[in-house]
């Protein structure tokens, strides 16, 4: 147990900082915030696509991967340095995470040689992916999904509906879970298909968040023909891939989550001073309590990362999503409490320094639901980490 970094790791950090100083787009430096994007066509602006490509071409997109996949074969500890450096500068790698964070690692693990050729474009962002998981009747109970893919000689015929599909309106491809055998128990009849979003029979209808932004969509499939070779993994072998997909999503997300939470707490300190509440003992204790949560979660993330880097499973990661999403919601609430009567005001004339807290509060509702609700996370911790019996 030690805090110091090795000389090699410090050199890695120096190289990264030099790259970022030279290449970071100015739009990002002026405080680009996805919360400000109202138009779904602007969800991934061109400059952000260019940035992702630049990262890839210089080996800084996923630095733990080899150069042909946008990396430089760095060590797990260096990946941690990379993620922390980006987070501390409030930089994002991409405007659309499914391709590089879920599709690429899943194809590398389960895809055949032909399908793995899709990986570089997914990581570089040249192909935008969406993930077809949730359905109107399959939310937390994902295995209950009903979108049907009938197996024909050399193709599948897909009928059904997906919902809450992020980026569907700008995606070229969908990583889509479908039911290929309704006679088997529900976990055992699911397959994964790669579906081109421009295939005839697909209808995409954007859904607006309560925050006003349109980040996700409903996707309807009517007699959609999908070639047989687009099956990933074995027929009826999709469930195992869903489990892997979400693990990939969670493994690195905590770094950015903790950093944002810490930045929100710094914002609370500034806000308390501005609003004349910095001497209020109740506000002070609540800010300290939020900081304690953030600092202990960062330590837990590091601890999990150490076992992850040594190749052990890291149950710590299972805790991070649940804790971060609940904690950041509470931090936005505290910002509203400090703001007092200005809390619900969105008019920038009156609330320029306070309105981001109520906005953040509204955005935060999604985080305790999407990607596995907090209740599902508790089930996972209880059953997979603590070994409690399922009912």
């Amino acid at each position: 147990m030690q805090l110091a970094w090795s000389p090699e790791d410090e050199e890695f950090r120096t190289d990264l900082i030099a790259f970022l100083d030279e290449h970071t787009p100015e739009q990002m430096l002026v405080g680009f915030d996805f919360q400000d994007v109202d138009d779904e066509r602007e969800l991934v602006p061109q400059w952000l696509r260019d940035w992702q490509a630049t990262l890839f071409d210089h080996g800084w997109m996923i630095p733990g991967y080899p150069s042909e996949r946008g990396g430089r074969n760095c060590t797990p500890v260096q990946t941690l340095i990379y993620l922390e450096t980006l987070a501390s500068r409030r930089l994002i790698r991409s405007g659309h995470f499914p391709g590089y964070a879920i599709v690429a690692p899943s194809l590398l693990e389960y895809g055949n040689e032909e399908q793995q050729k899709l990986v570089p474009a997914a990581i570089r962002g040249d192909t935008i992916w969406c993930i077809g998981m949730s359905e109107p009747n399959a939310g937390s109970d994902l295995a209950g999904l009903q979108t049907r893919a009938e197996v024909r000689d050399d193709h599948f015929v897909v009928n059904g509906q997906k919902v809450w599909t992020s980026y569907a309106m700008i995606a070229q491809k969908c990583f889509c879970y479908v039911r290929t055998d309704p006679t088997l128990p529900k976990h055992k009849g699911i397959s994964l298909l790669i579906i081109d979003v421009d295939t005839p029979g697909i209808d995409i209808r954007p859904l607006r968040h309560i925050s006003g932004t349109a980040g996700f969509a409903e996707v309807f499939f009517t007699d959609v023909i999908v070639p047989r070779e687009n099956l990933v993994g074995g027929l009826n072998g999709g469930w195992a891939i869903t489990q892997g997909s979400l693990a990939h999503e969670r493994a690195g997300l905590w770094v950015e989550g903790v950093a944002r939470f810490e930045q929100t707490i710094e914002g609370l300190v500034t806000l308390a001073r501005q609003q004349g509440r910095a001497g209020d003992p109740i506000i002070r204790r609540k800010i300290a309590s939020a900081y304690e949560l953030a600092a202990s979660l960062r330590a837990l993330g590091y601890k999990g990362f150490a076992s992850f880097a040594q190749g052990s499973s890291a149950p710590e990661h299972s805790y991070m999503k649940m804790a971060m999403s609940e904690a950041s919601k509470a931090a936005f609430e505290l910002g509203m409490e400090i703001s007092g009567s200005l809390a619900p005001v969105t008019d920038p004339v009156f609330a320029a320094s306070t309105n981001r807290f109520v906005h953040g509060f509204f955005m935060s509702f999604a985080n305790t639901i999407a990607g596995g609700s907090s209740e599902i996370q508790r089930n996972i911790i209880a059953q997979r980490v603590l070994g409690l019996p399922r009912r």
């Binding site: 147990m1 002070r284 800010i287 304690e292 202990s296 960062r298 601890k303 649940m322 209880a382 409690l388």
Partner: protein, 309 residues
């Protein structure tokens, strides 16, 4: 940066875990309720490890997680704290903090040879325990013994303020490590019970209400454990974050211990609050520990001072 244990640290953890499991079973903690000498066979073993007091905080904290897990009676924590403050690791000792509302009583004073007294200034005096009249102070915790001292006139030497501040930070991390250990004991007992105890023909641990309580307890425990390790690392690395990290560790340990002892007894049901069941031995230790070296709220307020002022 490396959060993993070195091979030596793994050995230390395994050795201390086995030692305490063997030498400090619940029966010893129970015997200690009426017979303070019951700790003596255990102390003959623990006395061999008091040099950890002047070594790396990370090593000491690993050991203290195990003494906390066993609710070990005796002057181990007191002696390591004395050694860290005075540099004297040849005698058994304890530390008295005069005029400090966070720590008005003195740990294990009737079982040690020396008392280091920190008085305002700060100033430091080291006394022979035989020169100080002691009064035993009963608490809910039968595994620790607290004393009030009737201190004579002191001839004290100046103590560098930063040395004392660092010692206090180390004490917070040590206390956090012990508390995390005790909380883990209660958590482990509760988890086993939830898997064994059947109601409505199934283990109660299959009910979602129980599972979600245990998940939240487990999160509190794991983040407090990580915070204690991180605090020890900042001490050993002399990191600028150390003051904050040590307050975080003690506060997180206090929250985890309180949550786990309350929900632990709730999940045990009626058997959990009987005298015969061992749960209360650990529950008492966890309850009282929060009030040693500053409560959770006190540490949060000091953290606020560092963050806001």
């Amino acid at each position: 940066m490396d959060f993993s244990l070195t091979p030596d640290q793994e050995l230390l953890r395994d050795t201390s875990r086995k030692l305490l499991e063997r030498e400090c079973p619940p029966a010893l903690v129970r015997a200690h309720i009426d017979d303070p000498s019951a700790h003596e066979p255990l102390w003959r073993h623990l006395a061999e490890y008091t040099a950890l007091g002047t070594g790396p905080a990370a090593d000491l904290c690993l050991f203290l997680e195990e003494t906390g897990y066993a609710a070990a009676p005796g002057p181990f924590l007191a002696t390591t704290g004395y050694a860290a403050l005075t540099g004297d690791d040849t005698a058994t000792g304890t530390v008295a903090l005069v005029d400090d509302s966070t720590h008005p009583f003195v740990l294990e004073a009737d079982r040690v040879e020396r008392i280091a007294v920190v008085s305002p200034g700060p100033r430091l005096a080291v006394l022979d325990v035989t020169d100080v009249p002691l009064r035993f102070v009963a608490t809910v915790d039968f595994s620790r013994r607290l004393f009030a001292l009737d201190l004579p006139h002191l001839t004290a030497q100046p103590l560098a303020a930063d040395v004392y501040a660092r010692w206090r930070e180390r004490a917070y991390a040590c206390m956090a490590a012990e508390m995390v250990g005790t909380a883990r004991r209660i958590f482990d007992m509760t988890l086993s019970y939830a898997k064994e105890r059947k109601q409505f023909d199934v283990p109660i641990g299959s009910f979602q209400a129980i599972q979600h309580k245990l998940a939240d307890m487990s999160l509190a425990l794991e983040r407090a454990t990580a915070a204690a390790h991180y605090a020890a690392m900042t001490i050993d690395g002399d990191d600028p974050e150390r003051a904050r990290a040590c307050h975080v560790a003690k506060a997180a340990a206090g929250e985890a211990a309180r949550r786990i002892l309350k929900d632990g007894i709730q999940i045990h049901g009626g058997i959990g609050y009987t005298w015969e069941h061992d749960l209360h031995l650990y529950l008492r230790r966890a309850t009282a520990d929060e009030y040693l070296f500053g409560t959770t709220g006190w540490h949060l307020d000091r953290l606020a001072d560092l963050l806001i002022d």
